[in-house]
């Protein structure tokens, strides 16, 4: 009999599953798939199961709750990074490494869900907000050093103030792994013996997807938990991230973060110069006021003296007038005469008139 040669190996079921998984791993070490979430459920508060589907297909997905960085809900469009796998029960599934909302609608829905959750936890309450140091000496910056937002921040910071020690953690500020890098940087600064006085987290503008890093739940919680006060300036003025909401102080942009952080030295120089410029006229004003006051006092004294003098003059004039009236010549002028001598019959007397002095004999004296 001819020996039969079988070219096809015969596998056990588990071996075949292992071979398929090896083949899959070789072909797709990891794969990104976009689709809509369906049948989302969490078992034992640990394991997350859902389907990712489009109009013509659906795949089972599995992940742990700790890998879920943002809230996911049925109907939400997502992008998953996953490892395809055939389970020991022969079911094809995706083991999810990460998942993120995709598209404006899904991002917005995820943002709102997480916002509500964090708000309930009190992470945005005003009582939690700490003041930034008025004039810090040592600051930490978490950003991508190659990004325009970082360059803007440093330029404005240098223009406005000097003498700062600025420690910069160069991290990814968008895409896969960026929230973890920022969280490690926050942790790094919080572990320092000489901690910076403030942590500034910045990145410039970008798409909603780019900025979604700053809506990552663990990152938002890490910012909230930082022992060092935080200042977050992400995107443009109109952008709002959960990192902004949880920060001690929110800056509208990276440039605005620098403005909030330090005063403008040029304004201070102007203010100081103005203060000094105003001192000189102030001194002159005081001297003028004193001169004017002394003058006015002198004038007062002079007025008083003049008044007293005038009174005296008037008094003297009155006396003079009285004296004038009492002058005997005035009486003679009015036609009267002065009689000198004893008024007795037969005695010689002297009579003085205005114009002459007469001698006369008293002929008779009659009482009135």
């Amino acid at each position: 009999m001819e020996k039969s040669i079988n070219p096809q190996p015969i596998y056990s079921v588990s071996d075949f599953i292992a071979v398929v998984n090896q083949t899959l791993e070789f072909a797709y070490p990891s794969v990104e798939i976009e689709g809509e979430v369906a049948s989302f459920k969490v078992n034992q508060e640990k394991y997350v199961f859902f389907d990712i589907k489009d109009s013509e297909g659906s795949i089972n997905c599995f992940m742990t709750i700790w890998q879920l960085r943002m809230p996911i809900d049925n109907g939400m469009k997502v992008v998953v990074l996953a490892i395809p796998k055939l389970t020991q029960w022969g079911k094809f599934s995706l083991t999810i490494k990460s998942i993120r909302p995709s598209g404006e609608g899904a991002l917005k829905k995820s943002f709102e869900l997480l916002k509500t959750k964090l708000e309930k936890d009190g992470l945005f309450s005003l009582e939690r907000k700490r003041l930034l140091p008025k004039l810090p000496n040592h600051i930490a910056v978490i950003s991508s050093t190659g990004a325009a937002g970082y360059a803007d921040f440093i330029k404005i910071l240098n223009d406005r103030w000097g003498g700062l020690l600025v420690d910069v953690a160069n991290v990814k500020v968008q895409g896969q792994g960026s929230p973890d890098q920022i969280m490690r940087a926050i942790d790094y600064f919080n572990q320092q013996k000489k901690m910076p006085e403030v942590i500034v987290i910045i990145r410039g503008g970008g798409s909603a997807d780019d900025l979604s890093t700053f809506n990552d739940e663990p990152l938002v919680r890490a910012i909230a938990a930082s022992r060092i006060p935080t200042l977050v300036g992400v995107g443009h003025e109109t952008d709002q991230s959960l990192a902004d909401l949880v920060a001690d102080v929110r800056a509208a942009t990276p440039t605005n973060a620098a403005v909030i952080l330090v005063p403008d030295k040029n304004e201070i120089i102007r203010a100081v110069t103005t203060q000094i410029d105003l001192l000189e006229p102030r001194i002159i004003q005081v001297i003028d006021r004193q001169i004017s006051s002394t003058k006015s006092q002198l004038l007062g004294i002079l007025d008083k003296a003049e008044s007293v003098l005038n009174k005296q003059i008037l008094h003297v004039l009155n006396l003079k007038s009285i004296l004038f009236q009492l002058n005997p010549n005035m009486v003679l002028n009015r036609g009267y005469a002065i009689i000198r001598g004893v008024i007795k019959k037969g005695v010689m007397i002297e009579i003085e008139t205005k114009k002459a002095i007469l001698e006369a004999e008293v002929k008779n004296v009659t009482g009135k």
């Binding site: 103030w161 003498g163 030295k265 201070i268 000094i276």
Partner: protein, 68 residues
């Protein structure tokens, strides 16, 4: 660096107090000239300190890509 910033703060506070003295009841012409000279000197020092100071920016060497 931090000491320099502190010194600017101290000088600014000192200058503010001096300027306030000129508006206070303690003001006297006899003392005003001396105080003015001190204030002017402080203002010049603050200006030159501010213009000379540079920030020291250092990029942390640690790689934040992984836990290590």
């Amino acid at each position: 660096m931090s000491q320099v910033n502190k010194s600017i703060q101290e000088k600014t506070e000192q200058l503010t107090k001096l300027v306030e003295w000129f508006d206070s009841d303690d003001f006297s012409i006899e003392e005003a000239l001396d105080k003015y000279k001190i204030a002017e000197k402080l203002a010049n020092e603050i200006e030159s300190d501010l213009l000379l100071l540079k920030n020291e920016i250092q990029i942390i060497k640690k790689n934040f890509d992984s836990e290590k």
